[in-house]
């Protein structure tokens, strides 16, 4: 098969699904099948691209200004992101089919169509050849997910949606766009290249500003203080929170930051400037503060959202350590966190569907009535914490290695390790207590509940199994991550 054709297929398939789904609204079963089949096809296409020998093909869709093209090409990092997003899209579709019906949600056709559209923009982000293209689809992703956030249509949903839109678009236009313009003016190009394009083109005093503009402009990465959109987005139906706000949208943010560090600024250049040890303070504080806030949240989804904010900063932290282990750890965490967090969100949604409970404090004793859900929850939680027998351990392993190898001031080296340690303890506290209480505390009321719908349980089992599988066989992700960092297969 032909390489460029498969690239086009990866970009077009979800768009076709969008159109088909909106046409098939009258037949829900066919509609969901289309969604699932497309997701499976998309995953197969990307798997093919992953296995095929890399070809340096660049597809130019449009060139509004010379040297500013809308162009797509395949990179290993893009493959990793696309694999995660498309694979989990399949799982989420199965989950959503059960969830949306059990929950009697309105406008389900619009929901599935926009979902496919969001995945289409994620694919375009993953395969963008330059920062300009990435920026455009970054904005498209914001706009296409907005109606999903406000899906319920209540005034609370609209308030949440307004904050979502304001923070994401405001910061990207206010900071990300100027950063992009400064980059273009200094380097004369925005194309991603291994080793970066800014080496020797910008002096340190500007790089400082530029990095801050990127970090806060790409607010999808959830660095504090621009993280508030994520808890606000939790008003969305659970499948949206699960795939988009634990995987696709937030990972698009950290993906952008990784791209900027690896292929725009260049890790070597950033290391020479010795800025990273100051920049690291932002993700470090985000990790700790978000974990602390998560402990105070009684709403389950909101607690998970703050946990996501904190975990995203692990990836950013890994990127800014600028050494091999840190970068590999950050990249691996992109995948490991995705599997674990989607399991947690699926479980939260299953609890909501079965019991209509949203508060952590109401879950005591539920474990005996919904054993599968809470076991999956526990697996996800332990993977996020980074305990053995779960995939999350490996990404944390390399992150800790990265912290030890970090070549900045000793103070920073120490605080990196301490941050990781404290955060792990906090994770145990606010995540693992939930299944513990569910299993071992007496129930607060005597009502009985059934397990969640079967499709939800199946969908939960898949990522939970992946969490365990990747502990015993992390090579797939590790190899991809090290290829990305060392630049093989670019």
């Amino acid at each position: 098969m032909n390489y460029p054709l498969m690239m086009i297929a990866a970009l077009i398939l979800p768009l076709i699904a969008t159109v088909l789904i909106s046409l098939l609204g009258r037949w829900p079963n066919i509609r969901e099948s289309v969604s699932a089949v497309t997701a499976a096809l998309l995953f197969a296409v990307i798997w093919w691209l992953f296995q095929a020998p890399a070809e340096a093909v660049t597809l130019v869709a449009a060139a509004p200004i010379e040297s500013l093209k809308i162009a797509f090409s395949v990179s290993r990092l893009g493959i990793l992101f696309a694999l995660i997003a498309s694979g989990l899209w399949l799982v989420t579709t199965i989950y959503a089919a059960g969830y949306m019906r059990a929950h009697y949600e309105k406008n389900q056709t619009r929901f599935f169509a926009l979902f496919a559209l969001a995945i289409a923009s994620v694919m375009a982000i993953a395969f963008s050849d330059n920062l300009f293209t990435l920026f455009i689809f970054y904005e498209v992703l914001t706009v296409s997910t907005y109606p999903l956030v406000t899906h319920a249509g209540t005034s609370a949903a609209r308030r949440g949606g307004k904050r979502y839109l304001l923070i994401l678009m405001g910061s990207s236009i206010g900071f990300f766009l100027p950063a992009m313009i400064i980059t273009w003016l200094s380097a004369g190009t925005l194309t991603f290249e291994h080793g970066g394009i800014l080496q020797g083109k910008v002096d340190t005093s500007w790089l400082w500003v530029l990095m801050l503009l990127f970090m806060f402009g790409v607010s999808k990465a959830g660095l504090m203080p621009f993280h508030r959109w994520l808890p606000s987005a939790m008003v969305a139906p659970t499948p949206v929170s699960a795939l988009l706000h634990a995987v696709a949208v937030v990972k698009a943010g950290v993906f952008t930051l990784l791209k900027v560090v690896l292929f725009i600024v260049g890790p070597d250049f950033l290391a020479q400037s010795e800025l990273s040890q100051y920049l690291l303070i932002v993700p470090m504080l985000t990790i700790l503060l978000a974990s602390l806030v998560a402990m105070t949240r009684n709403n389950l989804k909101e607690r998970l959202a703050y946990s996501t904010v904190s975990q995203l900063s692990y990836i950013v932290l890994g990127a800014f350590m600028l050494n091999q282990s840190g970068l590999i750890g950050g990249t691996m965490h992109l995948a490991m966190h995705a599997f674990a967090k989607i399991t947690l969100f699926f479980a939260a949604g299953a609890i909501l569907v079965a019991t209509h409970k949203t508060k952590v404090s109401e879950l005591n004793g539920l474990g005996r009535q919904m054993p599968f859900t809470f076991v999956f929850f526990a697996i996800g939680a332990m993977s996020i914490i980074g305990l053995p027998f779960f995939g999350g351990m490996w990404s944390k392993w390399y992150l800790v290695n990265g912290a030890v190898e970090f070549t900045g001031q000793p103070v920073m080296q120490w605080s990196l390790s301490i941050t990781l340690m404290i955060s792990t303890l906090l994770n145990i506290w606010y995540l693992l207590t939930i299944p513990m209480h569910a299993f071992f505390k007496p129930a607060t009321d005597n009502s009985t509940f059934k397990e969640a719908p079967v499709s939800c349980l199946i969908a939960m089992a898949v990522p939970a199994a992946m969490c365990i599988y990747f502990f015993f066989d992390p090579h797939l992700i590790y190899d991809l991550a090290s290829e990305i960092v060392t630049g093989d297969g670019q």
Binding site: A61, A62, P64, I65, L68, I70, F132, F135, I136, E139, S155, R158, K162, L166, G170, I173, G174, L177, P178, I181, L185
Partner: protein, 499 residues
Amino acid sequence: MEAYTVLLVVIPLISAPLTALIANRHVAWGLSLLVGAATFVIALMLLQDVITGRVIHYELGGWKPPWGIEYVIDALNALVAVIVTAFALLSVLFGRQSVEREVHDSQLHLFYAAFQLVLLGLLGMALTGDIFNLFVFLEISSLSSYALIAMGHKRQALVASFNYLIAGTLGATFFLLGIGFLYAASGTLNMADIASRFEQYDAMALVITALLFILIGLALKAAAFPLHSWLPDAYTQAPSMVTVFLASTSTKVAVYVLIRCLYHVFPQEYWSQLLLPSFLLLSGCLGMLYGSYKAIQQDSIKRLLAYSSVAQLGYMIVGIGLNNETGLTATVVHMFNHAITKGALFMAAGMVFYRMHTTSLHQLRGAGKTMPWTTGAFVIGGLSLIGVPGTAGFISKWYLLQAALENNNYLVVASLLIASIMAIMYVWKIIEALYFDGEEKLHLHQVPSGQDIVAAMPLATLCCYLLVAACIYFGLYTDLSLDAAKTAAQSLFAGGPAR
């Protein structure tokens, strides 16, 4: 091809009196549609012919210039002609329903006749190579636009029209005086002729006086800050269709004439030594900031968009004032991009008015839920107005930014960025009111019952979305707009159309 040139002016010239005489509103609309379509096709053919850099000369009545009047068409005015005719066609399509509601039945045929005269005037201004002929066309278009604005449904329309009449007449008079001085100095009215023998009289004090008079006259017509005061009222009070048409064409044509005079009548070396570029930059930057600032404070959508037009005209003036090729490219391409953006937005505003009988934002809270498509048009048009990448507005701002950086003019860069942030604020203001506010019930005024059938505007929605699609298309595929602008800017800097 040459022979078609004159048809652009002749077709509306014949059709306008016919429209007035036949006095049937359906015929009037049909004729206007025909005129719009015919001129649009011709203009497109002309643009295709000259986009490579060729120049068409057409001698009216076979009289050789400089004695006779000649029409000179290069990439610049072909692009302007395309803008003008395209918007004539689209506004006629758009206005089918809204005009019938906003203008009294007995005046409809006169309305369309006046509309065709405006089109005639604007096209004439764009095409002619004779400066006195240009004045004549300027007056034709101005006089008929006063009439059009005065037909607005509120009584304030008369005041707005009267204000515009005073300002417009002042502008025209200044322009005429300037032409008079120039004629006294040079003894000719043909633009190319004036320019080619400029060294013979450039020392005369009369010439600089002429330049100033012409500039001020045109600045008034183009609503350049601080001579913009007529614009917000006129755009707010005019019937929706007139607003759409005038907002996307009339000021652009005035800017075009300004460029034409500055590069093809007065040589560039002559005026760049004066303080003029700095004055243009000052006027443009202040216009950008002031217009955006006032736009944020407005409550009526139409008024808000009108002030935003003042700001966007500032961008075009800045592009001229930067006095380099990139800046001029930015101005020309912004003429085009802003026309489609503002056209789409004013159409959306027109549809809101048609449906809700008000354009006041505080009365429209939550209307977005009843009009999702119109709100969608506001969102995309607004993004283009802000200049988000992927939309047409980005292209022009990008070039303007580059032009400013070429001159190391960081003051312009700063005002550009501040004005863009202010643009986010006023666009957000519309979106917020239409979509996010609105717990309370909508207060509709004078809406007949069974309103859903009455309010559906399929044709208008189609036109609006055509422009919305253009906002995105020309943000991605810039072959047509940017190439024409580049060719135009190059030929302007090379010193006039080749003979």
